[in-house]
Symmetry: C2
Amino acid sequence: MRTFKLTLAYDGSNYSGWQIQPGRITLQETLERALANITGEAIRVTASGRTDAGVHALGQVASFRSETHLSPEVLEKALNAELPHDMAVLSAVEARAGFHATGDAVKKRYRYVVHDGPIRDVFERRYQWHYRSRLDEAAMHRAAQGLRGTHDFSSFETHGSKRDSSIRTIFDIAVARGRGEKIDCLTIEIEADGFLYNMVRTIVGTLVEVGRGTQSHEWPSQVLAACDRQAAGQTAPPQGLFLMRVEY
Amino acid sequence: MRTFKLTLAYDGSNYSGWQIQPGRITLQETLERALANITGEAIRVTASGRTDAGVHALGQVASFRSETHLSPEVLEKALNAELPHDMAVLSAVEARAGFHATGDAVKKRYRYVVHDGPIRDVFERRYQWHYRSRLDEAAMHRAAQGLRGTHDFSSFETHGSKRDSSIRTIFDIAVARGRGEKIDCLTIEIEADGFLYNMVRTIVGTLVEVGRGTQSHEWPSQVLAACDRQAAGQTAPPQGLFLMRVEY
């Protein structure tokens, strides 16, 4: 048995998220079917984490084991020929035996895109949250810095997931207005050793309250300290969220 | 009767082009239906020109006459509430009586986007031609300069349209590699006093032959001089084409 590591990009718009669910089209199932068509094996794929319905990826990582004799380069080309056009394999490499995309991940980076102009962007509507009124990105960035470091992030976790611990470490968090033509866009990037369920989207929903001026820049730190989901802002919608990179 | 001028953006992916056709969903019909819902009038809308199925716009202009008492600002908001999310009114203004979006246009600018990297961009697949192999943008730009000026562009016209003349003036034509993160993208921008049917897409298909090295940079000028559609390259696919701006 050989172990492979895939780096994937996908437009999550037309999928019910990563994880296989009966009666729904999921990214995992689509990838497993493509692998079955290529190798003739029933292959189970594991991702660095599950992305929800409508969430996108520029650098999701998935691992699987196979008896195939195909080279990683051939496997990559065959997968890109087999997969629908809203999924792409950016790289395929052979990994050490025992490599596991979930368990071995040490760092992940997400990006969230908010469009804060009055008129919708018809081309980016699947890839951003259209917030409509202008946000103060400097206040949001300042507020976000209070979330850096190692904390109990249970205020930013949607219940229902069963995790041992809600302690995570945010290494980097930054809010910036988009470059060039995209002056009506904010990006919120967060890098951490792991994320609780809906953590990025709840942090974004909380920072937006600061950006629109209804809360002060100290408020997100108070939300964090409360360890209570009720203290935080709304959960931002899925289509603005991109899994950018996973490090091992 | 008042005359209005709308500036529109649309994602043409899900439409059979601008012009009303029985049994198909078109941009014109969608806009006219929205106007009927708002004003109660049967309004006929005229665009600066028809865009084909799959072609997009960042600055299409349309005009219509109406007895409505609504202000342009209110009309704009009502239209954006009424239209599907792949169409947006960027501005609505009242125009002088007799203003006609087709007849009064003096200059139009189109952009065409080519992705010349090996792996498809899952987010931009509806908005670019995925050409796969790397193109020489400097050779394409140099070749394009031979098309500047006033010429008979019948080599770049798909037959079937009945026009009085195939003489047009290209004021500006430029090929450039994309900015920032988009290094795998070329944009071809063309500004002219008018365009023949499929003219931009045929120019792009011709310049790509230069970019891939199968034709010299003098070839597009020779194609132009031939006044023969058979001399030109293929017609590039619609999804890379954007109507950027119309001047009056």
